[in-house]
């Protein structure tokens, strides 16, 4: 049974997938994370996290199309699964208790 506690970057990635599920692959996810957090994450860190989340069953992925601007390489699209949503809510609940904040966190 995978651990449901999430790290901050894992939470950020899953939140991004919940709020903007369309067209979610590496470049768009990095853009959205940068917009939301002001942090420029690296491609390596993103894929390491996505790989870990996928092994835990929190996200699923599939291959998309290849384009010329990607040097003929395919995109890998990601989608959050129900287990991932549950993990997000559980982690946010813990954060809420920790911070003493009432009500759900913004956008939950």
């Amino acid at each position: 049974m995978p651990r449901k506690n999430l790290g901050m970057f894992e939470l950020t990635v899953l939140r991004t997938l919940i709020q903007q599920p369309e067209d979610a692959y590496g470049v768009t996810l990095l853009d959205r994370i940068s917009e939301r957090t002001g942090r420029d994450a690296s491609v390596g860190a993103l894929y390491t996290t996505l790989d870990r989340l996928e092994r835990k069953g929190f996200v699923s992925s599939w291959w998309g199309e290849a384009t010329a601007e990607r040097g003929g390489r395919r995109k890998r699209f990601y989608k959050i699964e129900n287990a991932g949503r549950a993990a997000v809510h559980q982690t946010e609940e813990q954060l809420r208790h920790l911070l003493g904040v009432d009500g759900a966190l913004a956008g939950a």
């Binding site: 590496g26 390596g44 040097g71």
Partner: protein, 194 residues
Amino acid sequence: MSVDSAWQKNGAKQSPDDKTKQALLGAIDRFDRGFVVEFIAYGLLPLPLPRIMRRCEKRVLRQRIESMLHDWDTIPDHHSYIEETDRLMREARWGSRASKTDAPLSSTVTKVDRRRVVTMLTNVLAPRTGEAMLGDLDEEFARRETSDGSDAARRWLRRQTTIMVLGLLCRFIVRGDAIVRAFEDILRIGSNLF
């Protein structure tokens, strides 16, 4: 499909001359030899071989040359045709932004290309997502090259590539260490049984 048949099939007005055909077919032959040399070289390494090689590059190259032959009439003369072939060969082998100095026309591999090493390492260390990672780097690089300029984009790519490869290596080492420790545990437990 031969040069001639591709040409005839598409209703071309004139066939490419012999010199052009020789240049093209010779280039493919040399490319093949280079491919075989790489195959043998990689075959000697104790690593998951199929992931190291871009197995489809030869097929991709052929497809692109054939597709170029289909569009023959968009290329004004044989000289530019050879240049175009040269560019396609480099792209098929080294990626879309390879400079002319990176890889002479269809040569065998004579120098280590950083880009190729990164591709190889990424595909070995992250077999599932390596292709997507490299594609994302390419896509973002192209975008930054347009918006921030070539130098800034190159700096970004160097930094990202370094972080990515080092991160993958660390993960590989850590996982390897975990496997070794698990194996030692099994041996210890096993030895206690006797």
